[in-house]
């Protein structure tokens, strides 16, 4: 068979479409190939088979739920850290002798009004007084010896730091306290002041309340500490009583001493006992000071970090809306970052797997042709 004849025959063998099919396809072409449902098409079969697998949709759902939970957790954690929209740390007490002082986190309205905030702190004084009045465990009838201390952080406008510092000194004088140290730094953009005070223990709570209510100041945080020193106090007193009793015995023995050597030995022993007694008395006085005078640390922050928030009427205003909107944007940005962190590795894997999948598909197609 010649080439021309073969080509002619091959061309004649060319399959031709049915007229009905050609007309139908032309009509679809004229309509610009509108999508048509093809339930039996390979792609539809692939997707339906994918969706029929219970594991994959369940995994996708679990991933979505986990992501949402993570976002909620992150959002909630952020709120707790800043202590509400005012950005003020929580006011909480801490005791070590059972007299716990705990004031709940302050609300927006409390933060907006210093006086209201100070009133919210007032119940802490009653709790501490109750702790102070606890009976001694030793059964001696005297109250237990308790050492108390407190720290107070106050905020003030930049130009009010000095006034607030003077107010602190006034409160110390009014309650007959002692200023151990103080430092005041005034700057144009704010300022700082710090005081180490000692306040008579029985006047501690009124003094703290007065400090919390200082004009032009607001409480940023307050911490009360209570430490039971009763055991140490009893030990010192017992050691002192023993030493004194022994000293009396040595004095009596010295009066009855017959020899020079015995006299010298008893005198040396008496000297050591005097030293011991003096040391115990110093320790007792120190303990008395710690019990009778409570240490109070006051810090004043001026300027942007501690400025007084102007009081409002509690209504939801434009500033509140802007603040909340900013918060929403922050959370949304966080969601985007988390989603990106989760999606980037997936995208990298997909990018790596894509050429492999294409090569595999190509290979399967060629295998299908070979098997035809």
């Amino acid at each position: 068979m010649h080439d021309d004849e073969l080509i002619t025959l091959l061309t004649a063998e060319r399959p031709r479409p049915r007229e009905a099919f050609a007309a139908e396809l032309d009509a679809r072409a004229a309509a610009r190939f509108p999508p048509r449902p093809r339930p039996g098409s390979p792609r539809a079969l692939r997707w339906s088979a994918w969706l029929r697998r219970p594991v994959i949709p369940a995994a996708v759902t679990a991933l979505a739920i986990g992501l949402v939970a993570l976002v909620i957790a992150v959002g909630g954690g952020g709120d707790a850290r800043v202590g509400g929209s005012g950005g003020v740390p929580s006011v909480a007490g801490d005791t070590q002798a059972g007299g716990a002082v705990a004031v709940p986190e302050r609300t927006m309205a409390e933060q907006a009004e210093p006086d209201a905030q100070s009133r919210a702190l007032a119940p802490a004084a009653g709790d501490l007084a109750a702790a102070h009045a606890a009976p001694a465990a030793g059964g001696s009838g005297s109250p237990r010896k308790v050492e108390r201390s407190a720290s107070l952080e106050l905020g003030a406008d930049a130009d009010r730091v000095d006034d607030v510092a003077q107010g602190v000194l006034g409160v110390v004088a009014r309650y007959e306290g002692i200023v151990d140290s103080s430092s005041v730094q005034s700057r144009q953009d704010g300022g700082e002041a710090g005081f180490q005070l000692r306040i008579p223990a029985d006047r501690l709570q009124p003094a703290l309340a007065a400090l919390s209510r200082l004009p032009d100041a607001r409480v940023l945080s307050r911490t009360d500490d209570t430490r039971d020193v009763n055991q140490a106090y009893v030990s010192v007193r017992r050691a002192l009583a023993n030493a004194r009793a022994e000293r009396a015995g040595v004095v009596r023995a010295l009066a009855n001493a017959d020899t020079e050597d015995e006299t010298l030995r008893l005198r040396a022993r008496l000297d050591r006992l005097e030293l011991t007694i003096a040391r115990a008395e110093r320790a007792q006085r120190a303990l008395d000071r710690r019990v009778d005078y409570s240490r109070v640390s006051v810090a004043i922050h001026g300027g942007a970090g501690g400025g007084v928030v102007p009081a409002d009427d509690g209504a939801f205003g434009l500033g509140d809306a802007a603040h909340d909107a900013l918060r929403v944007l922050e959370v949304a940005a966080g969601v985007v970052v988390i989603a990106a962190a989760a999606l980037v590795p997936v995208a990298v894997l997909a990018a790596l797997a894509w050429p492999l999948a294409r090569a595999l598909t190509r290979r399967r197609r060629e295998q299908a042709l070979d098997a035809a």
């Binding site: 073969l6 399959p15 610009r32 390979p42 035809a372």
Partner: protein, 177 residues
Amino acid sequence: MTATSSPTAIDTSWERFEALYRASRDDVYAYVATLLRDRAGAEDVTALAFERAYRRRRSFDRARGEERAWLFGIARNAALDELRRRRRHARLAVDPEDPLAADALASGEDLADEAARRAALRAALDQLAPRERELVALKFHAGLTNAEIARVLGVSESNAGTLLHRTMAKLRKACDA
């Protein structure tokens, strides 16, 4: 606003695609029908190929070949996907009809001789490997050039020519046998 297109981008206007459709409709069908050896399946795959080509017309890059080669690449993938699907599911056993068989019975000796030669050709085509039949379909049923065939099959043009030459020699030998 006047749209401008880069030299390598396809003219995505409908008129351009419609011209490609008009020029290639029967060729695509002939190629697919030869590949599938099933006219009903060939109709579905031909329609699917044009749908895909229409949807992907903006992704065509002229630097990578002519439009017809691009279109036949899409048709080839659709046909091979159909073959894969048939392997996974029930196999269709539809023989291509012989359009001249009835004529041969009713006509004289010339037509009977012609029908015999065509029957011999079909038998020879059946002896070819699927890839060789595909080459024949692309060349003589779809009317593609060697360069276009090379583009569709992913081989060099000279390789496509060599494969085609060997296939024709094999086909001629089978017909003469």
